[in-house]
């Protein structure tokens, strides 16, 4: 996977992408007419995706065509059975492609291991095919369209180019945000040149996104990859530093990517949804999931959790239990754990992702049923006095500690590595480099914290625009130049979420 995403890939943090963007933007400004703009962006998006490997575009085209036709079919028929069949067809095609390309080898390996445990040796049958970049993202995007049309929450589009561009729009094609058709299709149907405000916001978002991705995420990754790649070489404080740095890396990497994606979309006059809202300032797991990868968590909420809750409640309702609360106590854990298991599986075909998802499901359940007793946790807590501050700090640190533990499972190569890390933390072995690693972690953490606090306080991602225009411009130029110098001498690393 890494070799695929190294040289010869159109990463947002590469100069070839800057060139591509400059050319596409320049031509886009010259193109007149809605249809011509859509077609031009469609060609540019397919070129962007095909730059990795042209064969990937075939899968993208299959998925797009299927869901467009299914949507048209759903729009034409009111027959319940026919609609269900069409919906099923979309699921089979999309999830089939995802299953074959992403999960086939994993399930075969798991089945093989299971049979081996029972004493049955089966010959290995692995496809060993390359995972197409961003397949999970565009599959969820197309599925959401079909489900919304099926539920009659959205009218099917009649323009194939519009729909194809909705699926393949290059700013959010390979790693989200997983935009809904309800938001993106109307914008594509009426593509306009970006307003001056959108251009300003776009440039600030791109600059800050590059800073987060390159100077925080990639820089931390250089230590993280080494430590998780050969943990046996490192001592307890270094392993802990590696784990904390990973939690910083994955956030800076993905939120930086989302900022760049949203910034680029703005330059084309398109608004994409926010994907992150200071998740590491969360005081509960439910709050964390409202702030982390928002486009995925809302997708899962809408299309998995809610339908599952309804189905389970209907079933449990038949048992005639004494109270609705009791029903909730049975249904919520089941729904939360199943949903988060699937969320884990979405992230990757591996046991660590499944355990990570299940663990978050358990965290959400315990928190909801045992700690907060169904009370919603507000997104913005007010601190009044020392007691309130103390509660805030305790909730924040305990939540973040458990999230950090879950990241260990997420990042580890396998569960043995998780045990190895935990063993090293229990049997603490000091290092002469503890101080150095502590300082490194502290300053990575401080930087990401400062950026988050600035966003939290100003309630804006483009807080730099609150300064004088000349000051904003020079700050952005300064950051962009330093990022460029760094990029010149360091091989760009792919975004962590590309592999999902």
């Amino acid at each position: 996977m890494n070799s695929l995403l190294g040289s010869g890939s159109m990463l947002f943090n590469s100069f070839i992408f800057f060139l591509f963007l400059a050319v596409v933007l320049s031509i886009y400004r010259l193109v007149r007419g809605q249809r011509a703009r859509v077609l031009f962006l469609l060609v540019a998006s397919y070129f962007f995706y095909g730059y990795w490997d042209w064969r990937f575009t075939i899968l993208l085209a299959i998925s797009t065509t299927t869901d467009f036709l299914v949507g048209r079919g759903l729009g034409r028929t009111d027959e319940k059975k026919g609609r269900k069949r069409l919906m099923l067809l979309s699921c089979v095609v999309n999830l089939g492609i995802l299953g074959v390309f992403k999960y086939f080898d994993f399930f075969i390996s798991s089945a093989q291991a299971g049979l081996a445990a029972l004493g049955l040796n089966v010959e290995s049958f692995h496809l060993r095919i390359i995972l197409p970049v961003g397949i999970s993202f565009y599959t969820f995007k197309t599925l959401s369209y079909t489900i919304d049309v099926y539920r009659r929450r959205l009218d099917p589009t009649h323009s194939f180019p519009d729909y194809a561009l909705f699926v393949s729009f290059f700013p959010n094609l390979v790693a989200g945000p997983i935009e809904r058709a309800r938001n993106l299709l109307p914008q594509i149907a009426d593509l306009k040149a970006a307003t001056p405000q959108q251009v300003k916001e776009g440039l600030v978002l791109i600059t800050m996104g590059l800073f987060k991705k390159v100077l925080i995420g990639d820089a931390a990754a250089r230590i993280v990859n080494n430590i998780f790649g050969q943990p046996e070489l490192y001592r307890s404080p270094e392993l802990l530093a590696g784990l904390i740095l990973f939690s910083i890396q994955i956030y800076a990497d993905f939120s930086g990517y989302s900022n760049i994606a949203r910034g680029i979309a703005k330059l084309f006059g398109v608004e994409l949804m926010r994907n992150f809202e200071q998740p590491y300032l969360s005081r509960s797991f439910s709050e964390f999931w409202r702030r982390w990868h928002i486009s995925l968590s809302t997708w899962i909420w809408d299309y998995i959790f809610n339908p599952l809750m309804s189905a389970l409640l209907r079933r449990v309702g038949r048992w005639k239990l004494s109270s609705v609360q009791l029903e909730m106590r049975i249904v919520y854990p089941c729904a939360a754990i199943i949903t988060m298991l699937l969320c884990g599986l979405w992230h990757g075909a591996g046991i660590t992702y499944i355990v990570w998802g299940a663990l978050h499901g358990v965290f959400l359940t315990v928190e909801r049923l045992a700690i907060y007793k169904n009370k919603a946790i507000s997104m913005r807590g007010r601190i009044r006095g020392m007691r309130s501050l103390g509660r805030f700090v305790i909730r924040l640190t305990s939540t973040q500690f458990l999230i950090l533990f879950a990241w260990l499972i997420f990042r580890a190569k396998d569960l043995n590595q998780v045990w190895y890390f935990l063993g090293q933390f229990v049997h603490w072995q000091g290092s002469d480099l503890t101080g150095r690693f502590a300082v490194i972690v502290l300053f990575f953490g401080l930087m990401i914290l400062i950026l988050d606090i600035a966003e939290y306080v100003t309630r804006s991602e483009v807080y730099l625009l609150r300064l004088r225009p000349a000051v904003t411009a020079t700050i952005c130029v300064g950051i962009f130049l330093v990022v460029c110098f760094y990029m010149m001498t360091t091989k760009p690393l792919p975004f962590v979420y590309f592999q999902f």
Binding site: S3, R222, G229, Q230, L433, A470, V471, V482
Partner: protein, 366 residues
């Protein structure tokens, strides 16, 4: 007036941003400012006590000690009971790809300490881009001033052959005058030296300027097209891709250096990469003891342990972690077997240094 105010505010914002970024880059260990300064006698030397972080095929977090070399601060004067080995060479010896405790010098120390029952110190005087001439000068002027029992000079074909002889106005130059070797330190009169001295205070304290310098080196090395154009970068012509031929002859100056080093039996040449047979024969004729590390590294590779492959970054480069460990153990064995370090095995022949001359039978010859 308004425009001036705006300009002033913008300038202040730019300076403030760059200063904050510089501080962040340094403290988070993302980029170390220039870690060397130009000494008027030695040329570029490590700044004492400078914290250094390096990323390449591996990564390094460590510091130069108070004497200006890598590793624990061992003072020039020996305590008497300890054994000291000087490690002199280029970036392979410097080892800025592994943490200090994973450096082969540490394994060498551990293995020899176990064998001798005495304290053994391996002092790392490696410096990136050093060739034999630089090593000789550095040894005479600096490393050799530290009490030692053995000095290991790590060389590859490029260090011995003219292809890599870099004449720089920042380094002292070793020259041959008649039969004598002299070190010309006139570099400190050069314009380049004065220019570097002038910018040194800024360069040694700014991470951003180091980034700019690295980018400049990349551009002047012709790497810009690859970085910017990626797949569209023009590919070098097939003829240019051919490997350069391995050098066959030893330049006169380098022969003189080897002859000079051979006068002290404590000096040993460690050949770290394959040499052309004629070059090898010339090197051998200098009479300097040789440890054939190249053959050992080849044997590692033949066993499927590529010493240059980095599994995490999937790059080939300097010696990897496993190679460092193996090299440390190998060198410890070699030093014991050629009785350079008195151990229990060769206890019957303590201090044979003055009698030792390499006869080519103790290590694997190729």
């Amino acid at each position: 007036m308004r425009a001036m105010k705006k300009l002033f505010a913008a300038g202040l914002a730019l300076i403030g941003t760059l200063l904050l970024l510089d501080l962040y880059l340094q403290l988070a260990g993302i980029q170390t400012p220039m870690e060397t300064r130009i000494d008027p006698t030695l040329g570029p030397t490590y700044i004492p006590n400078k914290n250094i972080t390096h990323f390449n095929e591996g990564f390094f977090v460590g510091a130069a000690n108070k004497y200006g070399y890598m590793g624990p601060a061992i003072p020039p004067r020996s305590q008497g009971s300890e054994r000291r080995i000087l490690l002199i060479g280029d970036s392979y010896v410097l080892g800025h790809t592994v943490l200090p405790r994973h450096h082969f010098g540490r394994f060498l120390e551990t293995n020899l300490s176990l064998a001798t029952g005495k304290e053994v110190h391996a002092l790392n005087f490696g410096k990136a881009d050093f060739n034999l001439r630089n090593m000789y000068q550095y040894f005479i002027d600096f490393a050799g001033t530290f009490d030692h029992d053995v000095a290991l000079f790590f060389v590859g074909a490029g260090d011995l052959a003219p292809a890599r002889q870099v004449v720089s106005s920042l380094y002292p130059a070793v020259e041959l005058q008649g039969d004598s070797l002299i070190i010309d330190r006139n570099f400190h009169n050069s314009r380049t030296y004065h220019f570097y001295k002038a910018i040194e205070p800024v360069f040694t304290n700014s991470a951003i300027l180091r980034l700019v310098f690295n980018a400049y080196k990349m551009i002047s090395g012709g790497g810009l097209a690859d970085v910017v154009l990626d797949k569209f970068a023009p590919r070098p012509a097939a003829s240019a891709q051919n490997e350069t031929l391995s050098p066959r002859a030893l330049p006169e100056l380098n022969r003189a250096i080897l002859n000079e080093l051979a006068k002290d039996p404590r000096n040993i040449l460690v050949i770290r990469e394959d040499l052309d047979p004629s070059l090898r024969a010339e090197v051998r004729s200098s009479g300097m003891p040789i440890i054939d590390l190249a053959a050992f590294l080849d044997s590692l590779e033949a066993k499927g342990n590529d010493p240059y492959y980095w599994p995490v970054t999937r790059m080939r480069g300097h010696w990897n972690h496993a190679a460092h460990r193996s090299i440390g153990e190998f060198l410890a064995d070699q030093l014991q077997s050629i009785a350079m370090i008195c151990t229990q095995k060769n206890w019957a022949h303590p201090s044979p240094l003055s009698d030792l001359r390499w006869n080519g039978t103790k290590t694997r010859s190729r």
